[in-house]
Symmetry: C2
Subunit: 447 residues, 2 copies
C-alpha cells in the first residue's frame, strides 16, 4: 500500500530548523506570563459541544469527535467537540472550580485550538493560542487592562521581529458615539464590523456596507471622521471628551483615561502604544477596552495579538458575574508569516551545548563518564555513538549546530585529556579529564 | 438553558493546586530531555486516518473529526483522526522531513494523545505522553539503549515519589528461547501477551491461557521457569548464555550484555535497574531491548514508563530502514495516581515570588514602578489592584501562596520605603524604594 504521508491540510508542523524558533518563542511567552504572576491552567482539548455552542461556537467550523468504528451501545463518546478558543474553556474551568480558585484569577493558557475553516494559505485548522486573562468576582480594576499591555510589549520586544504598536480603544466610546448619532441597537454590531474592515476594504465597499445597513451618507461620514481622529496628541482625550455628553461615551473616555494613566506607570515607552478609535474587535463579548497589535513594517500580517475586556465571561454557566480582561497571541500564524517573510532565521536544532565525539567506540565509556559530569553541572550535551569516520562525526556536530565539540582520540585519552573545540571560532584547547572546571567555564562563558 | 459544565468523561484537567505539580513535572521531563540533547518536535494532533491505521491504530478507539454542520462539498475535512500515540507521528515526521533531519535523530515529544476507550476509573481518553526516541539510518548503536535508561532514572529521581526500578529485557532472548522449545511463529505473540499478564493474573488463568494456545503443560512450565529466573546476580547473564545455542537467543544475550555494560558507564546505581525476563511488552513492533519502570512501593500503579527498540519504524512510509529506541512516560495517569495516593502535595498556584499590596489605590502607581524594577531582575511578581480591605488583600496573598509580600501603606510611602514580609517566617523589614538591591537579595536567597 502506498501512503500519502503529508500532514492533513490546515494542520501544520514546523521543520527541524524552524521548530526551535517556535520553542524559543513559547519560552519567551511563558516566561513573561510567569513574571507577571499568571498561573498556567490546561483544560482538555475536548468539551461538550453544547457548551461550546452556548458561547458563540460556529457549528460550521466546529470539529466533533466520532469513533471510526463506533460502538452504538456506548453513548459516552458522542456530543464532544474540539475547543475553538481558550476563552470558553476558561469560562468552563471557572464554572467547574470556582470554589478552589482565588480571585482575581490570573491564568495563562498556551496550546492548540481547532477551527474547521476553508483550507487556504495562512488559514490553519489547528493553531496555538497563547492567552492570559484576569478574572474578577463582581468587579475588576482597570489597572489590569494596562497590565496586559505591558505583558504584550515585553513579549514582542523579546521576539525581536521589528517595530510594533499596541492599538487601544474602548468599545463604550464607539458604541456611545454611535448611539449619540441615533444608530439603533441592531445596527451596532454590523457597524462595528464595518469599522473593523476599514483597513482591509476600499472606500467604495465601505460606503456600500453602510448603505446596506440603511445608514445615511452623512451619518456614515461622521462615523468615519470620528474613528480616524488622530489620537496621538497628549490632549486628544480631553478634546474627544467634548464631542458628546452621551453617558456611555463619557464612561468609555473615563475608562480609557485611567488605562492610559496606568500604562504610563508601567513605564511603557510611547512608541509601543497608541489610542486608535478604529479598533472595534468583531467579537460580541467585548464590553470595554479593546486591543490589537500590529507590526509597523509588516501591516500585511494583520493583527498579531488581540484582546479586550468582557463583563460576563462565565455568567451563562454560573449565573454569577465574572468580569475579565485578556489578550491572545496567535503564535502559529505569526511564526509562519515571520518565516515566510524572512523575519526570523533558522536555528540550530539541538539543545546540546557540546557534542562529545569518541573517535573509536572503545572510548565511549570514558565519553559517557565525562558527559555525565558535564550534565551534572546543568549543561546539555550528548555523545555521538557508533563507528562512523571522524569526518562524518564532525559533520553531525556541524549540522545539528552545537557551539562546542569534545574530541576523544587515542592521544588525548592516553594522556588523560580531551580536546575542546569552539565550533564558531575554531579555537581548541586540551583539557584534563580529571579537572573539568576549566571546560565548564569555557562552555558557559560563550553562549 | 441549563448547561452541564463538567468536563467530558475521560478528558481530565487538574485543579488549581494540582496543575502546578503537573507543570513542575513537565519541567523536569523537558529539562532532562534537553540535558541529553533531545530536540523538541511537535507534530499536529491530527493525521490522515489511513496512516494511523497503517501503523497499528485501533479503529474502535480512534477518534475521527467531523464538522458539526458539515458542508458536503468540502471533502478536505474528512479522513482525519486524532493521534493515539507519539510514535506513528514520529514515523510520519521522518517521512515528511527526512532530507532536513540529521541522523541519528534525537527527538522529544511531550503532549496529548487520544484513545476512545471505555470510560472507567484511571482510564483516560486524552492523556499526555512524554516520549524520547533516537532514530538511526540503517543502524543504531546499542549505547543509546542504555542512554534512555539514564534519562528515565534522572527523571524519576527528580519526581521524588519513592523508589523505582527500570526492568530491562530483550525480546530476542524471549523469542529465541521460545523458538528453541518449538513454539511456532503464530504462537509467539499470544505467548508474549501471556508473559505480560503474569503479574496481573492468577496461576490458574495463566495455565488456561497456555492451554488455549495448545502449549503443553511441560513447555508452559519451562517458559514460566525461564522468565522467573533471578537475574540480579552479576554472573546471571553468563549462566543464561549456556541454556541454548539458538542464534536469536544468543544475539539477544549479546545485546543485553552490551546495554548493561553501557549502563555501568552511565554510573547508574544498581538499585535503579534490573534484568527481568518477564518483561515482554505487548506491542508488535519491539525487536530488541524492552523496558518497563515500576514504583517499588506502588506496584498497583503498573508500568509508569515503558519503551524499547524497534527496527522498522518508518519503513512502511519510506521504504527505508530507520531503527530506533525510545521510552514514553504516561504523565496524566501517573500524576492522577500520585495525587490519589497522596504521593504528592498540593502546590502554591501562583508563579509569583512576591505579591505587592498597595493599601490604597493611590499607591498603585508607585507599586507598578517597584514591580517593574523587581521584574527586570528576573523575579516573578504581581500587584493586587483594587479597593479591598487590607485583611482581604493579605488573604489573597496567603491563598495563592506567594513566599513574600510587599506592603505599601501611607507611612511607608511617605518615608520612601516599603515593607517586605516573609510569609513563612513572618519576618518583615523596611526597604528603601530607591535601593531595591537588598530586597532582591532577600527575595532570591530564600526560595
Amino acid at each position: 500500500m502506498k501512503f500519502n504521508t503529508t500532514n492533513p491540510s490546515g494542520f501544520p508542523e514546523f521543520s527541524p530548523v524552524h521548530e526551535p524558533i517556535r520553542q524559543h518563542w513559547l519560552q519567551i511567552i511563558r516566561q513573561t506570563y510567569n513574571r507577571y504572576g499568571y498561573q498556567t491552567i490546561e483544560t482538555p482539548l475536548v468539551e461538550r459541544q453544547e457548551n461550546l455552542l452556548g458561547k458563540g461556537g460556529n457549528a460550521k467550523e466546529m470539529y466533533v469527535l466520532k469513533r471510526l468504528l463506533d460502538d452504538e451501545a456506548d453513548k459516552s463518546h458522542s456530543g464532544n467537540a474540539l475547543r475553538f478558543d481558550q476563552t470558553v474553556p476558561l469560562a468552563l474551568y471557572i464554572a467547574r472550580h470556582r470554589n478552589e480558585i482565588t480571585f482575581p484569577f490570573k491564568r495563562q493558557a498556551v496550546g492548540p485550538v481547532f477551527r474547521g475553516e476553508r483550507a487556504q494559505k495562512g488559514r490553519f485548522r489547528q493553531f496555538d493560542q497563547c492567552d492570559i486573562d484576569i478574572i474578577g468576582q463582581e468587579d475588576l480594576p482597570l489597572a489590569y487592562d494596562a497590565e496586559v499591555v505591558a505583558v504584550v510589549v515585553d513579549i514582542f520586544k523579546a521576539f525581536n521581529i521589528g517595530k510594533f504598536v499596541v492599538r487601544i480603544n474602548n468599545r463604550k466610546i464607539l458604541v456611545g458615539f454611535m448611539q449619540s448619532l441615533g444608530i439603533t441597537e441592531d445596527q451596532i454590531k454590523p457597524v462595528l464590523d464595518i469599522i473593523d474592515d476599514l483597513e482591509k476594504l476600499p472606500p467604495t465597499k465601505i460606503k456600500a456596507a453602510f448603505a446596506e445597513q440603511n445608514i445615511s451618507d452623512s451619518v456614515a461620514e461622521k462615523i468615519l471622521r470620528f474613528v480616524t481622529i488622530d489620537m496621538k496628541k497628549t490632549e486628544a482625550l480631553e478634546t474627544l471628551k467634548t464631542l458628546t455628553d452621551h453617558p456611555l461615551f463619557q464612561a468609555g473616555i473615563a475608562e480609557l483615561t485611567t488605562v492610559i494613566k496606568h500604562l504610563k506607570s508601567f513605564q511603557i515607552e510611547d512608541e509601543y502604544y497608541v489610542i486608535d478609535l478604529k479598533i472595534a474587535r468583531g467579537l460580541d463579548y467585548y464590553t470595554g477596552t479593546v486591543y490589537e497589535t500590529r507590526l509597523t513594517h509588516n501591516p500585511e500580517f494583520g493583527s498579531v495579538c488581540g484582546g479586550g475586556r468582557y463583563d460576563d465571561l462565565a455568567s451563562v454557566f454560573t449565573g454569577k458575574k465574572f468580569p475579565g480582561v485578556g489578550i491572545s497571541i496567535g503564535l502559529t500564524r505569526l511564526l509562519s508569516q515571520s518565516i515566510e517573510t524572512g523575519l526570523v532565521q533558522n536555528k540550530k536544532s539541538s539543545p546540546s551545548q557540546v557534542i562529545l565525539l569518541p573517535i573509536e567506540t572503545q572510548f565511549e565509556t570514558i565519553a559517557i563518564e565525562l558527559s555525565q559530569k558535564i550534565r551534572q553541572q546543568g549543561l546539555a550535551n550528548e555523545i555521538l555513538f557508533g563507528e562512523q569516520k571522524f569526518a562524518k562525526k564532525m559533520k553531525y556536530a556541524e549540522k545539528i549546530g552545537a557551539p562546542f565539540v569534545i574530541i576523544l582520540g587515542e592521544d588525548e585519552v592516553k594522556a588523560g585529556k580531551f580536546l575542546l573545540k569552539n565550533m564558531q571560532t575554531g579555537n581548541q584547547s586540551l583539557q584534563a579529564m580529571n579537572d573539568i572546571a576549566g571546560c565548564i567555564e569555557t562552555l558557559t562563558n560563550i553562549q
